[in-house]
Symmetry: C2
Subunit: 129 residues, 2 copies
Amino acid sequence: MHNLSVIELSGYQMSSTARLDATFAALADPTRRAILARLVAGEASVTDLARPFAMSQPAISKHLKVLERAGLISRGRDAQRRPCRIEARPLAEADDWLEKYRRLWERRFQSLDGLLDEMKSARRTRARR
Amino acid sequence: MHNLSVIELSGYQMSSTARLDATFAALADPTRRAILARLVAGEASVTDLARPFAMSQPAISKHLKVLERAGLISRGRDAQRRPCRIEARPLAEADDWLEKYRRLWERRFQSLDGLLDEMKSARRTRARR
């Protein structure tokens, strides 16, 4: 039953709001972020993924289900290995959401840079006197 | 007691891993994302923030506590209004984390673009014959 609902709601049958909720919730865990970091290098099976972590395969499988439900990974059809593959789209959507805020910190860093420049030139003027 | 632990752990006394966990968990909710979107326009009190949502002030206050604990907002000292202000740093850190994956989707979009270009020129070649 649980597996069925995972299949039904995974990927892009969710609204974009629900997708962002699922993506950010999936990213809120260090093991899941480490799994994604590993998958950037290429596909991997549950066994491959469990190895570097001090975690059982069922524990890793649970994390994979969260990632799969959020559409962050897909799994191969090979019944034995079911290799995991990272999916870029939900990450791109999370990045799009954050983009609206990029101006905010860029503006704040710029005003900090401006302040530091002013301080530097004020110090130089003082040193010259 | 709860308030105390919020104060003790908020902002930058957490490790960077715990900070990312808290940031992504805080962003995994549409109301909290909407609150941040509102705060980009400027500081706001709980009353201001509760207005556009069909939510009680205590419900909004709960969301604000999650955002504050993650360092995503800070609150003014004015005991009456305690105005909320968006803080850019945790968003910048989440953006940094996602940046490592940006190449992934850019590469995939590029290969898609390449494929579309090939299809276009193949169609043009055919049309010319």
